[in-house]
Symmetry: C2
């Protein structure tokens, strides 16, 4: 076909989930009179006596944080999942439920209250990567823990209730919906091609070069062709790996480097502490092999036009499917052109 479909409304196919995203590139000119968010002024204090994540402070449960110097993890005081839940199912006609068993943990990235990933030293981010590895292995080896979801909600707009740099890990018995979707597509492709679906996609991206934001020997960060959120990014290893436990020391450092570079670009985009939810998708810890899987980490940031105007995933998006106003290529170009030096340090 001779049309440049990138300038007209179109749908793109997500090869990992099998779902489509609607893209309306002509719509960026839409004026915005709706809700605006508060801009986040960077925190200044390295220690906040009222923060329940700062070293030495007492949490609402009465537990006291140690005077930690490195990433510190503990069981979430308000865990959505509990490890001692009984295993049971309930089926009553068309109503079907089963209990869920799990462990929820909090991971403090740094003792310094004022930091965020882009402001941390690369070697300290490497310690966070090592902590994720350790938790993935330890949680994953426990009985009844078949999946370990590592994630970060950054910024009040993403439901984060404490600005202290931290992420979470929710691990559980059942395999979550998003993982099941991706497993299906990885497997189908693997069975047909004896090759990694995401690995092959990355090769294509490395040749096209259009959507790549940062890259080093072991990793690439790119705006996926089927990105949903305006400035969505995926980080993936170039090697075919199933989970972060397979990272060697050099790769851990390379991952930390990419994380820092990418989050600096993010902060520079609207000169704000850029909000997002990020998460690592990797293989279940149920003991199966999953040779078809290729782990990756995604960033879903809501901001669209400025530090205060976000994209709302509401009516059409909830009832039909996701929609975006700028193409993945436009987003990539904007991110590519941003400085590698954090705006607060320029």
């Amino acid at each position: 076909m001779s049309h440049d479909i990138n300038s007209i409304p179109h749908r793109r196919y997500n090869i990992l989930t099998g779902e489509w995203i609607l893209c309306s590139p002509h719509r960026t000119k839409r004026p915005w009179q709706g809700k605006t968010e508060k801009d986040t002024t960077p925190k200044k204090e390295t220690y906040d006596p009222s923060c329940y994540l700062c070293p030495g402070n007492t949490r609402s449960t009465g537990d006291k944080n140690p005077d930690y110097k490195e990433p510190y993890t503990f069981i979430n005081d308000f865990s959505a999942l509990l490890i001692d839940s009984p295993v049971a199912t309930q089926e009553n006609g068309l109503m079907k439920a089963e209990t869920e068993v799990g462990i929820c943990k909090v991971v403090c990235f740094s003792p310094d209250h004022s930091l965020t990933l882009p402001l941390m030293e690369e070697e300290d981010i490497t310690k966070v990567v090592k902590t994720w590895k350790k938790e993935y292995a330890e949680l994953g080896s426990q009985e009844n823990i078949n999946y370990v979801q590592i994630f970060e909600n950054k910024g009040a707009i993403m439901g984060c209730s404490n600005p202290h740099p931290h992420g979470q890990i929710w691990s559980q018995m059942s395999i979550p919906t998003e993982i099941e979707k991706k497993s299906k597509h990885f497997k189908e492709y693997w069975d047909k091609n004896q090759s990694s679906l995401l690995g092959d996609y990355i090769k294509q991206e490395l040749e096209a070069k259009e959507r790549i934001i940062v890259e080093n020997e072991y990793f690439v960060a790119l705006v996926p062709y089927w990105a949903v959120w305006p400035y969505e990014i995926m980080i993936a290893p170039k090697k075919h790996q199933q989970h972060i436990g397979q990272l060697n020391e050099e790769e851990e450092k390379a991952f930390a480097e990419i994380l820092k570079k990418l989050t600096i670009k993010y902060d520079n985009l609207f000169e704000t502490s850029f909000p997002y939810s990020s998460g690592i998708h990797q293989i279940p810890t149920d003991g199966s092999d999953y040779p078809e899987w290729h782990w990756h980490m995604s960033f879903y940031p809501p901001l669209l036009r400025s530090a205060t105007v976000k994209k709302f995933m509401v009516g059409y998006e909830m009832f039909a499917g996701p929609q975006r106003d700028i193409t993945a290529e436009q987003a990539a170009k904007t991110l590519q052109n941003l400085s590698d030096i954090h705006y607060l340090k320029q």
Copy 2:
């Protein structure tokens, strides 16, 4: 099993989408120090000279609204979809896209700027129902329009940029993801049981009575067993109908009655103009029959604890799957106990 699984973390199965929702009923005690929203004070002016939806006003495109007295529809000035787009597909290795053709319309529910559905007269809501029917038929009969999504984003928190009572209709060539998921499950059940999946579920709910919020001869509004949003509600016809075009006059009125009663309860919950996205799921307009389908309208409201504290669907929810803190039965009980008279009129 002898456990009451409703008091411990569990997952529930959505029979329409085939997806699971994680429920953590013990978690309601969690303190909230995070983001709060602005409360919406009810509007007072019946006409706002600066509102681009009020009768007689000029929109940003220069078009002038007529002096309408009944529901008024027009083509969205910033349509995400366009009817004259070329039809084309593009496949390049693992990157797959196709153009999307469509028509986006705005539906003003009333000329009165100060109103919302719960504050409108039942006969005026009936006119909105008639407008939806008309648009569904007219848009659906156009070439290349195979699905018509009727929805409303209510409240600034739901990305609504204008408080004038209005909804939207996005109609398009392809079948959206959410509809495809539901079609699959309706069909499987129909082929196996020669019966309506949702119809049979509703029968079970009408016997159980636990999750029903309002009901009349033709309709029921209930908190689905697998509700995702804290106070999510589904309205469905008791009769097996595939689309709103099948409503007779009496049923139109009955639908309007349920809409009014339900949205009054919603406003009374936190004594605020209750935000939500609502949408009607019904059969595609591609000319096929879909006898298995049972149309329904859902309300996805974000508020959790008060007029200013919402549920965030973020990290875990985006990467694993949806999670909620109160059970469907707790939500139903709260809604059932609310007055049928709007708090502003008590």
